[in-house]
Symmetry: C2
Subunit: 193 residues, 2 copies
């Protein structure tokens, strides 16, 4: 109880937390901070992915090839745009939920419930964005000869590195949302058993 | 308690469930059954997606175009293969977890905890598979003129319909895993408050 002194986080069955609960609460804050950082970085790195290269272009067989500037940009792919929006939404929500988690101090209640529900939606949003970006990144890396989609990463190496880094960053953020869901359930489970 | 008679599902604080808990348990079984059906259907429909069309091919400008058989197949795309594997794993797990949920009868404990953890992984797996398949399906539908990837759905209409249907089916399965996570937390939350 609050009257117990040192530990300001409470114990018992009235929706408050004990020492184990406070450890989980600290873990939750750390995970939310990591989510803010990784999703922000993923959105920025993907949004910033732009590269212009001089590509040889053969106009007629009798003339030598001319160099033509071609640009690869994340906004050219709807999957990458979706990825950026998903990470931006997750980042914004991670900041708000961090504030909510600090205010809630690990207690169970309607706020914790609401946070859990939106956490699940963020998890789904981030993993679908990751899947989409990784799939397009994979075609960019290897191409698909069956449908005539040529690989582009042999030309746009910097662009593809940006894509890879942002997918890894976003994956870390998405996995953090899995951990946050586990913290929620462990927190309730510990009290329950 | 079990000695209460008619209701075989228990009430109280010893990890057993009451009337509300039994309603949640029935909902859980229904959601898991839907997961089995949708992920199985998604994997089968995508795995079965194959179409051969006669595409006109201009060998030389002086000769008329010849018709050449071209095949579109889900196994030609690593994103679609990943989607099939993800749905097959989720389907297999859904069957096992349905058995586990029936055996557990809505009680809280280590089995419920384990099921929740794997549910979260399935949610992540399905959403990433959906994102990947939807992204490639989108390029197939609209192409990407910036990198010279031509759309294929104007030729392979049946193949693309299969892809769309399987993504929708898998999305329903994935959303069911969100509902299952909510059931787990509501179930614990109800007892907690």
């Amino acid at each position: 109880m609050e009257s117990n002194g040192k530990n300001s986080l409470n114990d018992g069955t009235n929706g408050k937390v004990g020492t184990k609960g406070s450890t989980l609460w600290v873990c939750e804050l750390v995970f939310r901070l990591v989510c803010v950082a990784t999703t922000l970085a993923a959105a920025v790195v993907m949004g910033d992915a732009k590269e212009t290269e001089q590509v040889p272009l053969q106009l007629t067989p009798s003339l030598p090839a001319v160099l033509y500037p071609v640009t690869a940009k994340s906004s050219y792919s709807s999957a990458f745009v979706y990825f950026i929006i998903a990470n931006a939404i997750a980042c914004g929500y991670s900041i708000i939920s961090l504030g909510g988690a600090i205010a809630n101090r690990g207690r169970r209640g309607k706020l914790a419930m609401l946070i859990f529900i939106i956490d699940e939606l963020m998890l789904a949003l981030l993993f679908s964005g990751n899947g989409a970006a990784a799939a397009i990144g994979n075609v960019g890396e290897n191409g698909n000869s069956h449908v005539g989609w040529n690989k582009i990463c042999n030309v746009f190496t910097k662009f593809c590195s940006h894509v890879k880094i942002s997918v890894i960053l976003s994956l870390v953020g998405a996995l953090n949302y899995v951990f946050l869901a586990l913290i929620s359930i462990i927190s309730l489970h510990k009290k329950d058993t």
